[in-house]
């Protein structure tokens, strides 16, 4: 630590070089964020949520086979590391003749992951809606599907906003794992630049700060959203 700081302070040229690298790497890293990190996060979150709702519905349905499939899926995803899942999709599947590009591989891997984790959040939210809401729906003649779609899911989605926004923020950070299957997202850019000039500490710290800024902005949005949705739920 001391040595590192001394080497910078006592050597104006080195300091200049570091500032130079920090500045010149900012653009490629932001580019990686805008072209890959953010789109990857948004696309997988939307796809993952769709998958999650379907999985949650299967989990609470009375149809045994659907329940079973949903359970297996959730258990498999939660019981294995995300990195291993990504490696199977990107490096493993080509063995079966199924070659998928880095970005779509990442989309598949992360969506499957969000689908499993978020489905448990959504299921809990659905179960948290008071029985009286179902009965009110039934009492005006609704079927199960109508009550689910019009009465229960809208309320459950409000209940799941806080936990889901945590999932979303985690996802932003987890997308850095996509660097290991060659997606040139923000962290991969940092790795590539560091490989040419060996300033690992500088570049990885810079990446960390950028992630932090993104997540900080998101958490402000999260707070506002929660405050707005809070009122419209049954208790």
């Amino acid at each position: 630590m001391k040595m590192y700081l001394n080497s910078i302070i006592s050597d104006p040229e080195r300091l200049e070089r570091l500032i130079d690298i920090a500045q010149s790497s900012l653009l490629p890293m932001l580019e990686g964020a805008i072209l890959y990190t953010i789109p990857l996060t948004l696309i997988t979150f939307v796809l993952g949520l769709i998958l999650a709702v379907l999985t949650a519905l299967a989990r609470i349905s009375k149809i045994k086979i659907l329940q079973f499939i949903a359970r297996i899926y959730i258990s498999a995803i939660r019981g294995t590391p995300l990195l291993v899942q990504l490696f199977i999709i990107f490096y493993g599947l080509p063995t079966l003749g199924l070659t998928i590009d880095p970005f779509p591989s990442a989309v598949i891997g992360f969506s499957l992951n969000i689908g499993a984790y978020a489905s448990e959040i959504i299921r809990a939210a659905i179960l948290s809606i008071p029985k009286g809401q179902w009965e009110a729906g039934y009492s005006i003649g609704m079927s199960y599907t109508q009550a689910m779609r019009r009465i229960i899911l809208p309320q459950a989605s409000r209940v799941s906003v806080p936990p889901l926004s945590n999932t979303f923020i985690s996802l932003v950070k987890d997308t850095s794992l996509a660097s290991l299957i060659l997606v040139t997202e923000m962290f991969r850019r940092a790795q590539e630049i560091a490989a040419t000039n060996y300033e690992f500490l500088l570049l990885y710290t810079e990446a960390a700060i950028l992630y932090w800024i993104i997540c900080f902005i998101l958490s402000i949005g999260q707070g506002r959203l929660e405050a707005r949705l809070d009122r419209y739920t049954a208790n």
């Binding site: 008071p130 009286g132 809401q133 009965e135 009110a136 039934y138 009492s139 005006i140 003649g141 609704m142 079927s143 199960y144 109508q146 019009r150 009465i151 809208p154 309320q155 409000r158 009122r231 419209y232 739920t233 049954a234």
Partner: protein, 244 residues
């Protein structure tokens, strides 16, 4: 309008309704009274099949369900559409305004046109005295106002029968009157109603028939004067003494 024969309902081992026979003519108001746990709520919920009876025959209007055989979900939903229910705890949809609460059934279940439904819902809310609150959310309304929205929501489906389960017992005393008034108006208009309530004044004024239940059976039924002034059964007398 309503006819029940040999209705029984058990939860696991516990037999809650032990053979109820009942009939209600069109336009009649029947008030059900009885001690806590006697099965009043269960009886009401068996009428719109929120609780599936264990056995017996229930008929409303032209539709008949015989629970000695298997009854499908579809039959139940069809049957239920003839009834409306008003809950003790209102159970309004918290994510919808008063107007949207009332519009929901006609819009989603009956698939009527939005403009016509809107007009009907506004008229119903005016009728229950909430014409100026149509855009309020449930959390912005008092209990009495919420319950009146609940009544308007049930009426919007144009049911043959309205079921009330202690519609005023969650309300502050000063709010009870406004809900009872709406119910009296409905009775005058000829709505067929089955009302579980502890409001004996309402029963005396409005009911065509009062039914006293205990332990899952109908102990005594008759016109309000008979039940309240000269009950035949000792158990009815005891109950009435207890609540007065």
């Amino acid at each position: 309008m309503i006819s029940i024969q040999g209705l029984t309902k058990s939860f696991d081992q516990l037999e809650v309704l032990k053979g109820i026979d009942l009939s209600v003519e069109k336009g009649q108001v029947v008030v059900v009274i009885g001690p806590s746990g006697s099965g009043k709520t269960t009886l009401l919920r068996c009428l719109n099949i929120l609780e599936v009876p264990t056995n017996g025959v229930v008929s409303i209007g032209e539709k008949i369900l015989d629970f000695s055989r298997h009854v499908s979900n579809k039959e139940i939903v069809e049957f239920r559409r003839q009834t409306g229910m008003v809950f003790q705890s209102y159970n309004l949809f918290p994510h919808k305004t008063a107007l949207e609460n009332v519009m929901e059934g006609p819009l989603v279940v009956k698939k009527e046109g939005r403009e016509a439904v809107r007009k009907k819902a506004e008229a119903l809310l005016s009728k229950v005295g909430l014409g100026d609150k149509i855009d309020y959310y449930p959390f912005q309304l008092s209990g009495g106002q919420q319950q009146r929205v609940g009544i308007a929501r049930a009426l919007a489906m144009e049911p043959n029968v309205l079921l009330f389960d202690e519609p005023t017992s969650a309300l502050d005393p000063e709010l009870v009157g406004e809900v009872l008034k709406v119910m009296k108006d409905l009775a005058k208009e000829g709505m067929t109603m089955v009302v579980v309530t502890h409001e004996m004044r309402f029963a005396k004024e409005v009911a065509n028939e009062v039914i006293f239940m205990e332990d899952g059976v109908v102990v005594e039924k008759g016109e309000p004067e008979e039940i309240f002034v000269a009950p035949k059964e000792e158990r009815t007398r005891q109950f009435l003494r207890m609540i007065q």
